[in-house]
Symmetry: C2
Subunit: 226 residues, 2 copies
């Protein structure tokens, strides 16, 4: 891990991230005050569950996996964050202890914002507070979605859902490239890699073609009723 200052292009990425985009420029700049940047190899740990921490992390490039550890060492993914997404907001507004482990899933660059500064700005600037509220609500909803999917859907259904969520509305057939290894996708969906593989092969019968990271679907209807 190397620590650096913010370059201009880092700033540009940050300012175009969902959270900052809705803020007035001055507020966004104020938050970035004092931010640092670091680069990480795949499998680097950014922070550990229950560690005291007062940083919010923004992914600038690469991929960060957020997961909890079971007593037996098994891992359960809570979220997978890519460029522009924020991590650790909950902790900063609760007890300043990480709620999960964070680990780079591929070579990654992240920015660290000071939690103290964020709290202070949230108190002074209602735009910031508003943006944070929306962000956290959105995170909450994502997690709810995940929980509901886990409880209601089988593996092929979850995968079908994931594929459909990448399909522009209206198009009947289309294709896209997985944004990360199947490995990671499996974790995100709460599956073992083998189960993901089997799910794909089940979906083949419904017109899903998988070649490496490329996914192609030929019959949207069939997917939806899965």
């Amino acid at each position: 891990m190397k620590t650096l200052r913010l370059t201009m292009s880092d700033r540009a990425i940050l300012l175009s991230a969902r959270f900052f985009a809705r803020l007035p420029r001055t507020a966004a700049e104020a938050i970035l005050e004092g931010a640092t940047v670091s680069t990480h190899e795949a499998h680097d740990t950014l922070f550990r569950q229950d560690d005291p921490t007062d940083d919010v992390i923004v992914v600038l490039s690469g991929l960060v996996r957020l997961f909890r550890l079971g007593k037996d060492g098994r891992e359960a993914d809570i979220a997978v964050s890519q460029k522009g997404e924020m991590i650790g907001v909950n902790a900063v507004f609760l007890d300043r202890r990480a709620t999960a482990n964070a680990q780079a899933a591929e070579p990654s660059i992240v920015a660290r914002l000071e939690g103290g500064k964020l709290r202070q700005l949230a108190a002074e600037d209602s735009d910031v507070a508003q943006a944070l509220l929306e962000l956290v609500c959105h995170h909450g909803k994502m997690t709810e979605d995940c929980l509901a999917e886990d409880r209601l859907l089988t593996a092929p259904q979850r995968v079908a859902n994931y594929i459909l969520s990448h399909c522009p509305i209206g198009s009947e057939s289309f294709s896209f490239r997985l944004p990360f290894q199947k490995n990671v996708l499996a974790g995100k969906l709460g599956l073992a890699p083998e189960a993901l593989s089997r799910a794909f092969s089940t979906l083949r019968r419904s017109g899903v073609i998988v070649k490496g990271r490329m996914i192609e679907i030929r019959d949207r209807q069939a997917l939806e009723q899965f």
Copy 2:
């Protein structure tokens, strides 16, 4: 369902709820401005998933179950809220559509606060914004906990966890009364009622005694390493 105005004791319950307790009195009073109260029978639906809504609900008494519906009609509980807990905050700060169904799990009384007013106050009063942020972060963490439990723990482990979460630290043996039907507990833990029953009977071998709604534990150690 009957709609009423706030009584004095309703006010008292609200003001002592976690969310309001940390607010200055005037801010709390301002939020309660325009609140209404309604009573519900068991199984009454308070709102439905995807329904447009702009209310935040506070449970005054009874129990409200929050769940998503699968295509096949199966239900997945997202949360179970008791006295003093708030529901629907996410929706009010996102797209004003309910993210789940809400249903009274027993005869219940709830207060409805206007989402518009809440948004307005959050923008004007940083105390309110702060309290909301903490509330939503807390909700988010609860949901994360739930997701991680689902993925990492077996049924008996989840039940053991639940019991331990009601056990005052340090005490080696103790007993308490379930705050709701086993039915509801099963849903909250993501189990079928039968599975909960079997989990209890497994835990009997570790010193857990179940009589109706009363739970008694004799050996905390045994529970913890389950």
